[in-house]
Symmetry: C2
Subunit: 154 residues, 2 copies
DNA sequence: TTGTAACGGTCTAATATGTAACTATCAAGG
DNA sequence: CCTTGATAGTTACATATTAGACCGTTACAA
């Protein structure tokens, strides 16, 4: 009995995830000096506006210490600010500065270009199949219930 | 202009890769005490027979130091042995011991069961779409040329 | 031969990540 | 009020991972 690693789903996903991330990271890493966790937190703040660190952790599925450090780095760059919530002083409301928003507006189109180039190279039929398969898998594995339990991954 | 992280391919792949790996790892981690790099090296050796460390690194797309440590751990378990190649004494020919082969024969069916349960939960249509999409992506990103250049990932 | 470049593999030092402890705050009950 | 237990976030320590130096080979051209 033999298992062919190249056909094994966890292996295929890991390899592709790594390749896609590396490919996408070129833009935010070389031009903006962001790490992957920083990019994720940044993208979420640009997408959703003001958030708490816990929310960022939830939506990015990153460990809270990773988020904490990513936020610190973005704060150093003056791309975000925090304000303590007056109603609950444990919370910090985090939002992009004007400078951060400008960076977002200039970075996001580049990221989207990478993605759309990828999709057009795949072709309509393949990319539709891919989306269908991914969505089905996500429904199976990453339901709210599951997602809220396992938030430590990168 | 907004980028929706939940729809961004690198993010989706990373999350799914993590979820699939975690799910698959239960079998080899709890019952056999293997780490992920160890499992990968082990699976390759079971699949392909005798290999060198560099070959394992190539096919597993793992960094060579990771492979080195994985091999060391499997050697400690007495699941593999190395012999220096007489023709080229830089090389070590690594292969599973009888004990290693027995472990392989008992572990692999469990891993395959996990995988086939996943696929049957997805249903025929979705899993076919998934495979089609994954294969297309792999051809685009992980061709020999590409794969041989970027071998550091996990 | 010998010098030089390349290779297989390991070891070391720097980075990145996760675990668990800690601070500060809040909420609810006595 | 005061205690107990939970939550938000940071920090310190332990672990895991990577980059790069390193050693012993080998290949091959001069």
């Amino acid at each position: 009995m033999t298992l062919v690693l190249e056909e094994f789903l966890p292996y295929r996903f890991n390899r592709l995830a790594e390749a896609l991330s590396r490919n996408a990271s070129i833009a935010y890493k070389t031009e903006y000096g962001l790490t992957r966790p920083e990019w994720r937190a940044f993208a979420l703040l640009g997408q959703k506006g003001t958030m708490t660190a816990t929310e960022i952790s939830y939506f990015s599925t990153m460990h809270k210490t990773k988020v904490s450090r990513a936020i610190f780095a973005l704060e150093q760059k003056r791309w975000l600010v925090r304000e303590v919530d007056e109603n609950d002083r444990r919370l910090e409301r985090i939002s992009l500065t004007e400078q951060g928003k400008r960076a977002y507006e200039s970075l996001v189109p580049k990221m989207q270009r990478v993605e759309s180039e990828l999709i057009s190279s795949l072709g309509k039929e393949n990319s539709e199949a891919l989306f269908k398969g991914l969505t089905a898998l996500e429904e199976l594995y990453l339901d709210e219930k599951t997602a809220s339990r396992s938030r430590k991954a990168d």
